[in-house]
């Protein structure tokens, strides 16, 4: 139990001026690092995989299955939690125990990213830095939009997510995958449902995607390039016939954090061979 936040006389440490931040949510952690406040981090959740050094911090578990007591034991002066962190009863327990808790909104859009940065920065007392970074990101997104607008094509992109068993899931409307595809000047191939649903082979053929987009993990789980292209429902699509698979890092692609303009740029280049850097 080293590094825990109680002092010898049993007084709680929230009064001290040393920041002890627990960050829940991969993109929230990224923002803390981007603002240069990572020295105050004492723990992160299991979705906080970037940057690499975040993985060396104590891990409080999956963001939707937090436990109150271990987090209190870390003596946090600030708990940053992404919008859908939970369970709610545990957040209530933490509030009740007096942990300063800031819930960070999580909207997969350029405005959402800027808002996230502002909320995190304000919680850290870095309003100035937050405003600057939010403005820079907004400008990046605007430049990206203008740049993507120069392309004539709008390829249909099928995003696949494998969770390790059964058919992979396809991304429908209102997903962060659909959001990033849009930013990169593509069209989400599936618009018949919201969220992630198991891939229906015939619907896939009908959707006729030009490109298959996967995360590195899904790429491996599905058995790599050959295995994905030779799935019958993929082989029957333009993407399958042209061998168009794009593989990107999952957190970069779907995280909607400070690196999202970079992710959208990378995806745009992969989708539009005619784009000039």
């Amino acid at each position: 139990m080293s590094g825990a936040g109680w002092t010898d006389d049993g007084a709680d440490s929230t009064g001290s001026d040393v920041a002890r931040i627990v960050s829940i949510g991969g993109s929230v952690t990224e923002i803390v690092y981007a603002l240069g406040a990572e020295d105050g981090l004492v723990a992160v959740d299991s979705t906080s995989l970037y940057p690499q050094s975040a993985q060396d911090l104590p891990d409080v578990g999956y963001m939707r299955q937090l436990a109150a007591e271990p987090i209190l034991a870390l003596g946090p002066t600030l708990l940053l939690a992404v919008d859908d962190a939970g369970p709610p009863t545990v957040l209530d327990q933490l509030r009740e125990a007096g942990t300063p808790l800031v819930v960070v909104p999580d909207e997969p859009s350029p405005e959402g990213v800027a808002e996230k940065v502002r909320v995190v920065a304000n919680a850290l007392g870095m309003e100035g830095e937050g405003a600057t970074m939010a403005e820079r990101l907004t400008a990046d997104f605007a430049a990206l939009r203008d740049w993507v607008a120069t392309t004539k094509t709008k390829p249909k992109v099928l995003f696949l997510l494998s969770v390790g068993n059964g058919a992979p899931l396809a991304a429908g409307r209102e997903t962060s995958a659909a959001g990033i595809i849009e930013l990169a000047g593509g069209a989400n191939a599936i618009d018949g449902f919201e969220g992630y649903e198991p891939l229906s082979p015939e619907a896939t053929v009908t959707a006729a995607p030009d490109v298959v987009l996967v995360t590195g993990r899904t790429f491996d789980l599905l058995g790599g390039q050959e295995a994905i292209l030779s799935r019958p429902e993929i082989a029957a699509t333009p993407a399958g016939q042209n061998g168009d698979i794009v593989v990107m890092d999952g957190l970069l692609l779907l995280g909607f954090g400070p690196r999202t303009p970079e992710a959208a740029r990378e995806l745009a280049l992969a989708l539009h061979p005619d784009l000039q850097e």
Binding site: A11, D12, G61, R64, Q65, T89, Q93
Partner: protein, 361 residues
């Protein structure tokens, strides 16, 4: 003369042995409660624990309450320990009673549909509750899942029981088979809800199905506590009936027991005990199945001692499993259902192999 042939002396010795065993379990439970309350992620020195508890119970100045230590102990750890105590006792005694009623070593609350009924209703609350909660008073989402789980467990048990009853008689074999069939149907229902859920709900669902004592508050525990405690006590008091059942239904009838009434009571009480536990903890496997077997192994099948011993050992095991679950992967927590099944599964296998062919269930 060999003393073992003296039946009176043998019976006295047996009774003394059972008494000692129950006393040992009682002391072990007290120790387990002390350890479980005193140990956790937040290190609270023993003298602070005593001071905070004394303050809480009104024996000391109020200055001992209100800081982080006392909030952790009183608002987070203590309700959790109480839940472990009640749920462990309720699940184990329900298992012991059902095994006695069915004269079947495989019976446990899961078999008559309580767990799967609770699971399918909880899954529905998790997946569909978000849209339903708009019509309910604010803050009701916290109670929606446990209430749904409790109701689901009772409803499925009731359906199983109705199917097995005909002309005022209940066939135990039909009861078991109907339980298995409804478990399969519930499984399909959970599968459908998994299909309908988005990835967040899927995660919530998975964690609920793995069980956890975390996140329990006094506000959630107190309404459910009597629903666990009362059936537990009543079941333990039915030892005479269950002993009569050991001889067979006809024999129990000849001994003057109202067999049908007893069956109904045991099923209802077991469903209440297990349903209210599962509602707060999610699915926790193997406590109801394994604890009574363990007890029988040591002191035999007499329900007079089997039932209270199951209460004590069930509470001890669940408290210890929870202590492990919340401390071995700090600062995260393991779902407790993983631990009980991981420990309970191999243990049960060992028990099976050991007792195979001995015909002493």
């Amino acid at each position: 003369m060999n003393i073992a042939h003296d039946p009176v002396a043998a019976s006295t010795r047996r009774r003394r042995r059972v008494g000692v065993f129950l006393a040992v379990l009682g002391v072990a439970l007290l120790l387990t409660i002390v350890v479980a309350a005193g140990y956790g992620a937040v290190a609270i020195p023993p003298e602070r624990v005593v001071a905070i508890l004394a303050g809480w119970l009104g024996f000391a100045s109020a200055s001992e309450t209100g800081d982080t230590d006392s909030i952790v102990l009183l608002a987070i750890r203590l309700p959790r320990v109480c839940l472990g105590l009640l749920a462990g006792a309720a699940l184990a005694v329900a298992g012991a009673a059902l095994q006695g009623l069915f004269r079947n070593p495989l019976a446990d609350p899961g078999l008559i549909g309580v767990s799967s009924g609770a699971a399918v209703a909880a899954a529905a609350a998790i997946v569909l509750g978000g849209s339903a909660v708009a019509f309910l008073p604010a803050g009701s989402l916290t109670y929606l899942i446990p209430v749904a789980a409790f109701a689901g467990g009772l409803i499925i048990t009731f359906v199983v029981y109705r199917i097995a009853s005909r002309d005022g008689r209940t066939e135990v074999a039909t009861l078991l088979l109907a339980g298995i069939a409804l478990n399969a149907i519930s499984g399909a229902g959970i599968g459908l809800l998994i299909f309908l859920s988005d990835d967040q709900q899927l995660r919530d669902l998975n964690f609920w199905l793995l069980g956890s004592l975390g996140g329990v508050t006094w506000e959630r525990l107190l309404p459910a506590a009597p629903l666990m405690l009362v059936p537990t006590i009543l079941l333990a008091m039915l030892w005479r009936h269950l002993n009569a059942f050991l001889l067979g239904e006809t024999e129990a009838l000849h001994l003057g027991f109202d067999v049908e009434r007893t069956k109904r009571w045991i099923v209802v009480l077991a469903a209440l005990a297990a349903g209210s536990s599962v509602a707060l903890t999610g699915i926790i496997g193997f406590v109801g199945l394994v604890v009574p077997h363990l007890i029988r192994l040591v002191i035999g099948p007499d329900h007079r001692s089997l039932l209270p011993a199951s209460v004590l050992l069930g509470a001890i095991l669940l408290l210890l499993a929870d202590l492990l679950a919340r401390t071995i992967v700090l600062p995260a927590e393991l779902p407790i259902g993983i631990l009980t099944s991981l420990i309970g599964g191999p243990f049960f296998l060992w028990l099976l192999v050991r007792r195979r062919g001995m015909g002493m269930w």
